[in-house]
């Protein structure tokens, strides 16, 4: 068990001007499940590999258990890693795969077998110990990869998108298993994913990265409720938050034909920044269909039926016609509106977000 830290860590690949990871500063507590999330190219896998010792640390430090390990090879860092494509040794059986690290440490055969057996019990792999990876399904291989990491009883688990090669249903099941396993073992875990649903459901805290720069690190609920900039606001939550340019008025911001009221603090912050318009963010779940004639009007372009909910994609009447993304509203109304119909929607004013139109920073 150990606390893990990135101290101003950077990685610049040869021939590139822009760092893949830029001055990452992140403290991960002992036993914490930290998720690194971001789009492709955000530097999350590179940051994980820097922790593992598979990428150089060009600036700054990596600390495990308080010690600077930036120059140490992977085997001296007491870490275990689960790779995206599992990276099992094809010529070894499951038992041999899981026991390889112990064999290198010259652990006695009996102790090795006992540890492998314990990990196999934990992961429901006892029946497969003599099989080779090619005789296993994707989910089984993933469990063997986890077993290989668990057997080592390391200070830190590193997981690089371990679920992305599984089918959707198995992914949901396995992510619950991984979270439960980590809670049981209590090992500090750094988990990389591009899937924000995984991030939100599994992490104690989530670090959002974009283009190598840390945007925000916080508990999932706070990321959802108070995103620190427009990028995080649009990345966390599915479907994504509606972000629209809105002109400031005395009491709020104008969206379409209506004025959405904003808190005093937000308006003051906007005035202090000399803004005449802001980027207004409203989540689909903060909007509902209403029957009264007031409020916003939406022309329906597409309805996505998900069983429990439906999402209505449309164009706001009076909206900026150059807006690329459709306006999304979550509703439960049965029957759902027809395509081309115009519906009235009401925004919950306490659940709006305001961001600076140029920098994207939250206005408060």
């Amino acid at each position: 068990m150990a606390a893990v830290q990135y101290v101003n860590a950077s990685r610049i690949f040869e021939g590139n001007q822009i760092p893949a990871v830029s001055q990452l500063d992140l403290d991960i507590a002992d036993g914490e499940f930290m998720v690194l999330v971001g789009p492709s190219g955000s530097g999350k896998s590179t940051a994980l590999r820097m922790m593992a010792g598979l990428e150089d640390v060009d600036e700054g430090e990596i600390r495990i258990g308080g010690q600077d390990v930036s120059q140490k090879p992977p085997k001296d860092r007491d870490i275990a890693m689960v790779f995206q494509n599992y990276a099992l040794y094809p010529h070894m059986t499951v038992a041999e795969n899981m026991g390889f690290a112990l064999k290198l440490q010259r652990v006695s055969k009996d102790e090795r077998n006992a540890k492998v057996r314990r990990a196999a019990e934990l992961l429901d792999l006892e029946a497969y110990l003599d099989r080779k990876p090619k005789a296993l399904s994707g989910g089984q291989r993933q469990r063997v990869a986890m077993g290989r990491a668990i057997v080592r009883e390391p200070s830190v688990f590193l997981m690089d998108e371990p679920l992305s090669n599984l089918d959707a249903k198995l992914r949901v099941e396995t992510r619950a298993n991984i979270a439960a396993l980590q809670a049981r073992l209590g090992t500090t875990t750094v988990y990389v994913t591009h899937d924000q649903v995984e991030a939100m459901t599994m992490g104690d805290r989530v670090a959002v990265l974009k283009a190598g720069v840390l945007q925000q690190v916080d508990a999932p609920r706070n990321l959802y409720a108070r995103p620190v900039n427009a990028f995080v606001a649009g990345f966390i939550g599915s479907p994504a938050m509606n972000l629209r340019s809105a002109a400031l008025t005395e009491s709020g911001a104008r969206l379409g034909a209506t004025v959405i009221p904003l808190p005093r603090t937000t308006i003051d912050a906007a005035h202090r920044a000399n803004l005449s318009s802001i980027t207004l963010g409203i989540r689909p779940e903060s909007i509902s269909l209403t029957s009264d004639g007031q409020g916003l009007q939406l022309t329906v372009d597409l309805v996505e039926e998900l069983g429990a909910d439906e999402y209505i994609y449309g164009t706001l009447v009076g909206d900026d016609p150059a807006a690329e993304k459709k306006f999304v509203v979550r509703s439960h109304i049965d029957p759902s509106p027809h395509l081309g119909a115009t519906v009235n929607v009401a925004v919950n004013p306490s659940q709006t977000h305001a961001f600076h139109p140029d920098t994207g920073q939250r206005l408060d």
Binding site: L54, K75, Q84, A87, L88, L104
Partner: protein
Amino acid sequence: MTTHSNFSRLPRYAGRSLLWLALLLAMVPIVFLVITSLKPEGVTRTIPPTWLFAPTIENYSSVLSTGAGSSVTFGRLLFNSAAVSIGAVILTIAVAVPAAYALTLKEFRRSKGVSSWILSTYMFPPIVAVIPLFIIAGNIGAIDTYPVLIIPYAAFNLPIAIWILRSSLESIPIEVQEAALVDGANRPQIVWHILTPLLMPAVATAGIISLILSWNEFLLALSLTRAAAKTSPVGVQEFTGLYGTQWGNLTAASCMIAAPIVVCVLVLRRRVVSGLAFGAVK
């Protein structure tokens, strides 16, 4: 079952017939060789060739026991061939595996240039090396020893062996090596525990190609050996002497040279084909 017109079957039958014809034509010298080796000495020279005779193995026994009249029996020559070829294969593989691994390391900046240079040495004509090797071997007293053949054979076999092994190594995902690094292996342990078992098919391919090349090699063996390390391809041409050619003994010796390689190739024929095609595709 649908019927096809006879016309569409014709190209296939014609192609197959041509292949059979080519095969039979190629087999004629070999069949003749084997038959001649079983003829008693007097019958070997008749024109037209005698097809009906009492087969005998006296040629084989005489070749093995006395050889071509030199001090060395042919059995000894076959042994030398085996020793030199197997030695060359072992040396080739022992050097080629680490070399191929080094060429795949991303820290090795000039690896592309070095690989191309290594492959270019495959075009080096062995005859150019004969005189320098003879002089060097003479100076260190290595003429007519096993190493004087094993080392040059390995040197000439290395380019293709490295090329085959490197290509096979590149098809192993890098994450498997990274997983081994995280598990605590150092580089030699990665090569031994992880890469070598996965490279076995490529090792077999490179090995059989090296074996064939070394076993059949004539020029260096002729120049650098006398009696003690003489190999069988050199020995077989001694059956043509002052008093004419002993065809029975010659053909028996040739069959004995060819037989081990034919057996190896039959057992490992898939590997041989992939090795031979290697230069064409990559």
